[in-house]
Amino acid sequence: MSETIKNSEANGDAAKVTEGAAKVTDGADEAGVIQEPRGTQESNGVGRRGFLKCMAWAGTGLVWAMNAGVLTSCNLASGAGSKGLFTFVQISDSHVGFNKDPNHDAAQTFQEAVKRINTLEEQPAFLIHTGDITQLSKPEEFDTAAQILRGARAGQIFYTPGEHDAFADEGKAYLERYGKGTRGGGWQSFDYKGVRFIGLVNVLNLKQGAGTGLGGSGFGQLGQDQLAWLADDLKGLSSSTPVVVFAHIPLWTVYADWGWGTDDGAQALGLLKRFGSVTVLNGHIHQIMQKVEGNVSFHTARSTAFPQPAPGAAPAPGPLKDVPAERLRSMLGLTSVNVLSKDGPLAVVDSTLG
């Protein structure tokens, strides 16, 4: 139920890329790790310690606080909930319709995740579902998911499709339900209390992998239309505006062999480079992975349906089947994000379903 960071470093030099991965510790309930913030952020004049507040959320989880690109963690015990500007919740990979090992009722665990949202002291301003809402894009699966989400105590729900939602018909059924207010394949942008939110779609027009030499990567992709729209959307936006980007497949390469990356993700990140605080929220891999690169922090969420193996820990990225029933919920979860102030520090809290 708590996470440890591995190698989470931020460096003022944009050229250095460091990998951050949060692994689930086996059932052990650690009190939390207090880490020294490392690296400096000279570029925007914020000192090393900066402004840091510890957030608490519904009892469990390790709190991450983002301050000008420095990811640190603090002990839950050390602070009761401190109100920021607003919170929102990321929920991902519900795969409604999935009914095999290790979870024969993905709708049920999705329902449980929504119930957890409803126990939050402070109602989230909105939810973001980062895709794979359904297992097979079936109408009844979309219906069930919508029905479950109607019970969520949250302002509004924003979506981005996963490949499971779009593969059958290039996203037509998904767009019929969730296309309102979006462009093209379902991308969108909105502002909330001074934060720019951008939903990208990287699961359409996927090209096959390189196996037969046809030059595809097997990765997600954004496409030129969407990138042109993104450039336009960011035009004139002050660099001090905190930006939150959400998309299904990770925008950075988590693991190439399994297609866990986005072909032209680097182009999108290039457009975001000038901003002082960028948070990228993804799903798809059914486990938590984090990385900080300059002013951009990346975070992937757990699934509410089933866990997947760590990169390379299995022959293929299918569901982890041998999870005992009593341990399943410790590997499923959702993410709460607290926007602390207009200047962008975001506290990202992952928690499990049990």
């Binding site: 097979l136 490949e163 992998g209 390189a210 595809g216 990765f219 089947k321 041998d322």
Partner: protein, 162 residues
Amino acid sequence: MLETFGRRIRLNAAASLLAACAACGGAGLGAGSSAAPSSQTPNAAHATDVAGVNQTTQAARGDAKQNSKTDTKPDAGADAAQNQIVIENFTFKPATLTVKAGTKVTWVNRDDVPHTATDTDKRFNSGALDTDDRFSFTFEKPGTYDYFCALHPKMTGRIVVK
């Protein structure tokens, strides 16, 4: 906890393999293995009644399905195993299949996750194949068909039609 993707022997898969072999024998194509040679019942081999020999052979095999396969089309059973692509462990097996024009190829998904077989030039698309679902496509035109799984685009395969 490491995931093991060992194959599970499924009863239905084993049964369909037996049925395919029975059909091979019944159709007389000899492509599959013969399960029970008539030499197992030497006395029956001397019977003058051909039908009687067949019945005894059936009895020796203990395979009552033999009879039901005799009126199936000649290509249905024998080709089933040859022009079939099994999807398992996120792989199309065989990765490349070469067939004659006019051949029907069948994909069957043995994975616990859904897959598709989608031609990159959109000439065929299986749609979602859940576990044990199958999809068949008859390749009339010669050419090379590169395809992939729309859900896991790293999975690729090729059909060469001559």
